[in-house]
C-alpha cells in the first residue's frame, strides 16, 4: 500500500488556510510549467482557471481583511496597530491576486508578449521568496505531456 502525507502524529483535518496555501502552491507550479513550455491541454486549462479563481477570491478576502485594520479610525477604536508584518502580508496577498489574474490569462491565451511574461516571472519569484516554496517542474514527468 502506498502511503503519502504527514506522519501519524501530524495527521489532522484540512483547514481553510491549508487549502489556500496548497492551492497557491499549485498555482505556482502551473505558472512554472507554462514558463517551462509544458503543454496545457483541455482539462488542465480548466483546472488552471478554477484554481486561479479560488486563489483570486481568497486573496481578495485577505487583502480586504488587512485593509480593514489599516483604516486609521478603526485602528484607534480597536486598539490594533497596523504593523510592518501586516503591511508585508497586504502586499503578499496583492501579489497572489495578481498571480491568479496572470495565470488565468495564460490559460486563456491572453498572456502574450515579452514584458507580460517578464512581469509574471518577477511576481512569481517574489511570491516564492516570501512563501519559501521551491519546486522544480522539470522533475514532474507527467507535466511534459498533455
Amino acid at each position: 500500500m502506498l502511503r503519502v502525507g504527514p506522519s501519524s502524529g501530524e495527521i489532522r483535518n484540512m483547514s481553510g488556510e491549508d487549502i489556500f496555501s496548497s492551492r497557491l502552491k499549485l498555482l505556482i507550479i502551473m505558472a512554472k510549467a507554462y514558463l517551462t513550455g509544458f503543454p496545457i491541454g483541455k482539462y488542465r486549462k480548466q483546472a488552471i482557471i478554477e484554481n486561479s479563481r479560488y486563489v483570486f477570491y481568497h486573496s481578495l478576502q485577505l487583502v480586504n481583511k488587512i485593509a480593514f485594520f489599516k483604516d486609521q479610525d478603526l485602528k484607534v477604536q480597536a486598539g490594533i496597530a497596523f504593523t510592518d508584518d501586516m503591511h508585508e502580508e497586504h502586499i503578499f496577498y496583492q501579489r497572489t491576486q495578481l498571480l491568479a489574474v496572470m495565470v488565468k490569462a495564460l490559460a486563456e491565451g491572453r498572456l502574450k508578449g515579452h514584458f507580460r511574461e517578464k512581469a509574471l516571472k518577477e511576481n512569481l519569484n517574489r511570491i516564492c521568496e516570501a512563501f519559501i516554496f521551491n519546486f522544480n517542474v522539470k522533475d514532474v514527468k507527467f507535466l511534459k505531456v498533455a
Binding site: M1, S22, L26, Q46, Y54
Partner: protein, 124 residues
C-alpha cells in the same frame, strides 16, 4: 504497483468537505488532463461506481456519510477488483485499517499538492 493507461483514466473523488473535494479534484484534473468526477457522499458515489462506466481510480475520505470509505472500498473492490481505491483520512488509526481492508494507498490529511501528484504513480 500495477498501473492504468492515462489515455482512458477516469478518476472519482469522494469527500463531504466541499473545499477539500474541489481542491483534490482540481489537482488531479491538472495531473492527468482528464475530467474528474466528484461526490459528496458514499451512497451517491456507489450508485455511479457500480455501473459499467465506473472510474478506474477512486479517492475517498474515510469519514463520509451514506457509505463510509471502508464500506465503499469493499463494495468497489468486490465489483471491480483490478481498479484502484485510495483512502484519505484525518484519523491516524485509519491507516492500519486501510492496509487491512486492501486499499491501494492511504493519503494522510492534510494532503499536499505533491502528495496528490504521487497518485499519478497509478497511471501509465
Amino acid at each position: 504497483m500495477s498501473q492504468i493507461n492515462i489515455t482512458n483514466v477516469k478518476i472519482a473523488v469522494i469527500d463531504s468537505d466541499l473545499l477539500v473535494r474541489d481542491f483534490v479534484s482540481t489537482v488531479l484534473m491538472y495531473c492527468v488532463n482528464r475530467d474528474v468526477l466528484s461526490f459528496d457522499n458514499g451512497m451517491a458515489a456507489w450508485r455511479y461506481l457500480e455501473g459499467a462506466d465506473s472510474p478506474d481510480i477512486i479517492i475517498s475520505e474515510v469519514d463520509v456519510s451514506g457509505l463510509n470509505g471502508f464500506e465503499l472500498l469493499a463494495k468497489f473492490k468486490e465489483k471491480h477488483p483490478a481498479k484502484k481505491c485510495l483512502l484519505m483520512s484525518a484519523n491516524p488509526d485509519d491507516e492500519q485499517l486501510a492496509r487491512d481492508s486492501g486499499a491501494d494507498a492511504f493519503l494522510a490529511k492534510p494532503v499536499s499538492v505533491t502528495d496528490l501528484f504521487r497518485v499519478e504513480a497509478f497511471v501509465v
